[in-house]
């Protein structure tokens, strides 16, 4: 099985990092993974995006025109990626910043008020982890614990102090989805 995901948002929203944590978790769970960012002038101010591929097979193309999952953190990213998601795919959007009426009937939408949730946890910068937790719960791509473990395994020593709060953020995102599913 192979899953292609795009994460997109403003630089500074932790978009690249969110994708990277997912890639680490995939790698630690024996998957093939690729992570390829946009780079250069775009990194400053414009949209930052990263394509992550997680696969049981060797990965050929690390880029895709039609991702199965798009995770968008701001309006420009919504505009750019809504049409690209492959039919039957999933679009997760940060509903704290994007007030959007879904325009496609052939994909699933998941609205995550990521900044609000992260803000309540005390740090809006953890919005990316809230979204990642929701993504994991909605797709079942990997166990949530795998992502938590990836943070423990790969955050540099100086950042290890943030592991626990990030795990809480992941959990909140996942809970949101579970509650939606239960409802």
């Amino acid at each position: 099985m192979q899953t292609e995901l795009v994460f997109s948002g403003f630089g500074g929203q932790g978009v690249l990092f969110g994708g990277m944590v997912l890639a680490y978790a995939g790698m630690d769970n024996g998957k093939n993974v690729t992570w390829i960012p946009s780079y250069g002038p775009e990194m400053r101010g414009g949209t930052a995006h990263v394509t992550v591929v997680i696969s049981d097979e060797e990965i050929g193309s690390p880029l895709t025109r039609r991702p199965q999952v798009a995770v968008v953190f701001n309006i420009p990213s919504m505009t750019k990626y809504e049409d690209t998601v492959t039919p039957g795919g999933l679009l997760i959007y940060n509903s704290s910043l994007i007030n959007h009426s879904p325009k496609r009937a052939d994909i699933r939408y998941l609205a995550v008020p990521a900044n609000d949730i992260a803000g309540k946890l005390g740090n809006a910068r953890m919005a990316n982890m809230v979204v990642l937790g929701a993504l994991i719960a909605a797709t079942g791509l990997l166990p949530l614990e795998a992502v938590c473990q990836a943070l423990r395994n790969h955050l540099p020593a100086a950042k290890q102090k943030f592991v626990q709060s990030n795990i809480v953020a992941l959990q909140r995102g996942a809970d949101l989805v579970k509650n939606l599913q239960a409802a």
Binding site: T34, W35, P37, Y39, G60, P62, L63, H154
Partner: protein, 368 residues
């Protein structure tokens, strides 16, 4: 050693360090800058030489100097910088000192952009500087291969006393994927007999590309050509996937090659007999292997991230035995699997099965 999630540029740098690199000289340019940055921290930490030069011109001449002392030395750059290095590359080739150059290609010509491209193919395989010489050129398609090629590059450079390029593109430089680094090798403690170390109780050594008499310079050229012949005989590397029964063979290197793999998988799923031939050494080019394949394919599709450069070598290799079509994207655009698949389907319809093609008279068609 366990796999780590590594960025291509960093992986190449660390692989070089572990291959016993003694000195790195470079100049920042996107999309290879992480390579230089990694060196700037790592080399001094190990008591080795890192220097950010004032220009690529200076960097390559520093490489030339360090290479003259017989140590493992390298630089890295991208197209605009490689252009500036051509003078030094030619001197290094003429002096027969080993050096490794990493080119993380970007869109050109001119300042172009910083997106991935393969448009330095002709420059580095055929015309890396004035005079008759050709570097060995390795083209990795994955981060793991980039690591392996970097180590191999130093071994080949030493073995043949030649220039070796590791030719990646912006995508190889920027991508992260799991890969395993080699164990650490210390820089060699001894120097080759020809190296400049001081004429201490031995006749002096000279490193020079100057041979004023035609006879002497021709002798050098003959030696260089003999060396290239040896390299052609011994160092050809390629990957062939699903080519045994293929009607259509895609020929693509580096990033374009790995992307084409996905197209091949999809084509097979649709029942088309498609294979992939991926040259790993761009020089020496796997010509005879391609020629053999040509005899039993109905067409070849060359896919590149340029306007058609390697395609000339493919045409020379197959020598009319099968039609060769080209599909390329330029300016930093990357051909995605669906585009390549469209080309495969077109090609499949255009050409009848091989047995209907007059032997050895395949039509050579190139479509930009």
């Amino acid at each position: 050693m366990a796999k780590e999630l590594l960025k291509g540029n960093v992986a190449i740098a660390e692989a070089a360090v572990r291959a016993g690199l003694q000195a790195y000289f470079g100049y920042p340019i996107t999309p290879q800058t992480e390579l230089l940055e990694h060196m700037s921290a790592r080399m001094p930490e190990l008591g080795r030489t890192f220097l950010q030069a004032e220009s690529e011109v200076a960097a390559i001449n520093m490489v030339y100097g360090a290479a003259s002392t017989g140590v493992r030395v390298m630089t890295s750059s991208s197209g605009p910088g490689i252009s500036l290095m051509q003078e030094g590359l030619s001197y290094i080739a003429g002096s027969e000192v080993p050096a490794v150059i990493v080119d993380i290609m970007r869109g050109g010509p001119g300042l172009g952009n910083i997106q991935p491209a393969q448009s330095d193919y002709n420059q580095i395989t055929k015309s890396a500087g004035h005079g008759d010489f050709r570097p060995i050129v390795l083209a990795p398609g994955t981060v793991q291969e980039a690591i392996d090629h970097t180590v191999l590059a130093f071994d080949l450079a030493d073995k043949y006393r030649t220039l070796v390029f590791v030719a990646g593109d912006g995508m190889i430089g920027q991508i992260m994927e799991p890969a395993e680094l080699p164990p650490m090798r210390q820089p060699a403690q001894t120097r080759p007999a020809w190296a400049l170390t001081g004429a201490d109780n031995r006749p002096k050594n000279v490193v020079s590309s100057l041979y004023l008499g035609a006879e002497k310079l021709e002798a050098l050229n003959k030696r260089l050509q003999a060396k290239l012949q040896q390299i052609k005989e011994n160092e050809v590397r390629f990957e062939a996937i699903n080519t045994a029964d293929a009607d259509i063979v895609i020929v693509a290197f580096g990033t374009a090659g790995r992307i084409a793999k996905t197209a091949v998988t999809e084509a097979r799923r649709q029942g088309l007999r498609v294979g992939l031939f991926r040259p790993v050494t761009l020089f020496p080019f796997p010509s005879s292997q391609l020629e053999k394949l040509a005899a039993r394919t109905k067409a070849m599709l060359v896919v590149e991230m340029n306007a058609g450069q390697m395609v000339d070598d493919v045409k020379l290799a197959v020598n009319g035995k099968t039609p060769v079509q080209f599909y390329g994207r330029t300016g930093g655009a990357v051909a995605l699997p669906d585009e390549i698949l469209d080309q495969i389907i077109l090609l499949d319809k255009r050409y009848p099965a091989k047995k209907a093609t007059p032997n050895g008279q395949g039509v050579v068609i190139s479509v930009a």
